[in-house]
């Protein structure tokens, strides 16, 4: 796997729900290298405002067509600029970067738990897992129904999706982690999760207590994205000194590596929202 630098050609950039967007980029050299759970480091502007790149998970990839999809939420200056890109424009992407999900080599039963935009790194994971004939269930929680529209993309490749919405407009009304109560841990070989930190903490607890192997995907502000600047570190366990680099050692970590705290003050483990 050789990450690189590529000017991807935007094929489509559409609003999918509220402040959520999907961007499809033709970036064949990059697409070939992508592994589920890795991320791209994207330059949102060709100037100094903003200066730094922005990390975005690889949402989906069609390696043969050289196509990468990104699912992102507009939260600040960089993502606002991303939303303004039009088809046929070019965007500078660096990657793929980081250590993605540990993939099952053969058919296994997988449980995916995505909270909000944290569903982004789960789609390509699901696609590759389905190619390996895994049975995949996704528990997908979001604040409102529109955000859950992406569930169809999962269902299309044969993922069994259970929906939850905080406003109760679609699926189970409430937190996606409540859906774990209906799951039988022994049904699953692996659980993968990405979402807000408190959500991931609950999933991690469920996995640990029920002995299911699991992975989480973390977030930190990044500069280099390649492990050079030591800017994106995170202390996985507040009782053990030392830091990991989210960009290089992660973003994916095993649930057992992370000790979740009740609170997540600055500097402790936080996850995708």
């Amino acid at each position: 796997m050789m990450p690189g630098l590529e000017n991807g050609k935007i094929l489509d950039n559409r609003q999918v729900a509220g402040d959520w967007y999907v961007m499809d980029v033709a970036a064949p050299a990059t697409a070939r290298q992508c592994q589920p759970g890795q991320f791209l480091h994207i330059r949102p502007a060709d100037n100094y405002d903003p200066l730094l790149r922005r990390p975005l998970s690889i949402y989906d990839v069609l390696p043969d067509s050289g196509l990468i999809s990104l699912l992102y939420r507009v939260v600040g200056r960089g993502t606002s600029l991303l939303a303004k890109f039009a088809a046929d424009e070019f965007i500078n992407i660096m990657g793929p970067l980081g250590r993605g999900w540990s993939m099952p080599a053969s058919a296994e039963n997988l449980l995916l738990v995505g909270g909000g935009i944290g569903v982004a790194p789960l789609m390509y994971l699901a696609r590759v897992a389905r190619q390996r004939e895994c049975r995949v269930r996704l528990l997908f929680g979001a604040s409102e129904a529109a955000q859950l529209s992406g569930a169809a993309r999962f269902e299309k490749i044969g993922v069994d999706v259970k929906r939850a919405s905080m406003d109760g407009s679609l699926g189970y009304p409430g937190r996606v982690t409540d859906l774990l109560n209906d799951e039988i841990a022994t049904d699953y070989a692996r659980v993968y999760t990405c979402g807000p930190a408190p959500m991931m903490a609950l999933v991690a607890r469920w996995a640990s207590t029920s002995g299911v192997w699991g992975e989480v995907s973390l977030e930190e502000h990044m500069a280099c994205g390649v492990g050079a600047c030591l800017g994106c570190v995170c202390q996985l366990d507040p009782f053990q000194p030392g830091y990991v680099k989210v960009c290089k050692d992660g973003p994916v970590f095993n649930v057992d590596q992370v000790r979740w705290m009740q609170q997540t003050p600055a500097g402790e483990v936080t996850g995708s929202e």
Binding site: M2, P3, G4, L5, R43, Y48, D49, P50, L51, L52, R53, M94, E220, H221, M222, A223, C224, G225, V226, G227, A228, C229, L230, G231, C232, V233, C234, Q235, P241, G242, Y243, K248, A266, G267
Partner: protein, 311 residues
């Protein structure tokens, strides 16, 4: 040898004994140990790779958040996280040496003895072209006063390191001072072979929603294009007062920026934050410098150094 009418420009630089094939280095703390950028460019072709700041013992660094973007710049408070000099020498240096990378070690400490000791450790290890001394560290014996802000301490620390090493020594000056020329003089008095200028400006950012400093360390070092005018000024001031090779940096993003530094008086340049934005920056900057030299018929890079003059 190029015998044509437009011989390729001579790009080699002798930075006070540090031999570089070309004037474009990458700055400490922004390029890891080189390997991190291997997928993006030929790290052996970079003028010099200045590796992450190294201390005698391993350091954990500061708790996150450690970085935050600012207008045309960024603040960092990494806190010198590094595995210690032994790990550098045994895990990283051999690899770089085998690759043929021009390596400059960046050393840090919290006492004169620290600096001397870490410098002594490098002796006998092939593959290090020179030492860059990060003197923007607090001197614990002087109540945390930064070495780099006091001319006497600068002279002392440079002299102490010179005594321990046969390598060229290049202190990296802190811009957070009233009189940079005075500091530069002190460094030379201490025996500096070259100067690296500038390290980051001390700054901070505040989270107005949570009413707290953004960085857990409160203060951080400001780097990136925002600081370029300050860096250029300091290099110009020092170059016009004294004759010592300068490695100039602070906000270099492209060849034009690099040329500003060279014209201000830098013999070579270093790219820091620019690597994060463009991982091929060192390559692109070098290419742009070569183009400029061709366009203007400049034979040797040295012919441009300090050539910005009012007419």
């Amino acid at each position: 040898m190029n015998n044509g009418h437009h011989p390729s420009p001579n790009l080699a630089v002798d930075l006070g004994g540090i031999k570089m094939n070309n004037p474009v280095a990458v700055a400490s703390g922004t390029f890891g140990y080189g390997r991190e950028y291997e997928d993006y460019l030929d790290i052996a072709a970079v003028g010099a790779v200045i590796v992450k700041g190294t201390t005698l013992e391993a350091r954990l660094g500061n708790p996150p958040p450690r970085i935050i973007e600012t207008p045309a710049g960024m603040l960092n408070a990494i806190g010198l996280e590094n595995p210690g000099v032994e790990v550098f020498l045994h895990d990283h240096l051999p690899y770089l040496r085998d690759k043929g990378v021009t390596v400059i070690a960046n050393l840090a400490g919290n006492s004169i003895e620290d600096y001397a000791a870490v410098s002594a450790c490098l002796e006998g290890h092939a593959g290090i072209a020179g030492i860059e001394l990060n003197i923007s560290c607090p001197n614990v014996k002087k109540g945390g006063l930064q070495f780099g802000t006091d001319p006497w301490m600068v002279q002392q620390v440079v002299a102490a390191v010179k005594k321990e090493t046969s390598l060229p020594v290049m202190p990296k000056l802190s811009p957070n001072v009233t009189n940079i020329v005075e500091i530069a003089h002190a460094a030379r008095e201490g025996g500096a072979d070259a100067l690296s200028m500038i390290n980051t400006l001390m700054g901070m950012a505040i989270d107005v929603e949570h009413r707290r400093p953004v960085l857990t360390n409160i203060f951080g070092g400001l780097s990136g294009p925002a600081i370029k005018p300050v860096a250029l000024r300091m290099i110009y001031q020092v170059h016009r007062e004294m004759d010592i090779p300068i490695l100039g940096g602070g906000g270099i993003m492209n060849a034009r920026d690099a040329l500003e530094f060279i014209l201000a008086g830098a013999s070579a340049v270093s790219i820091g934050t620019g690597n994060f934005v463009n991982p091929r920056a060192a390559f692109d900057v070098l290419k742009g410098i070569q183009d400029y030299m061709q366009v203007y018929g400049v034979q040797r890079i040295a012919d441009l150094v300090g050539k910005a003059v009012l007419r």
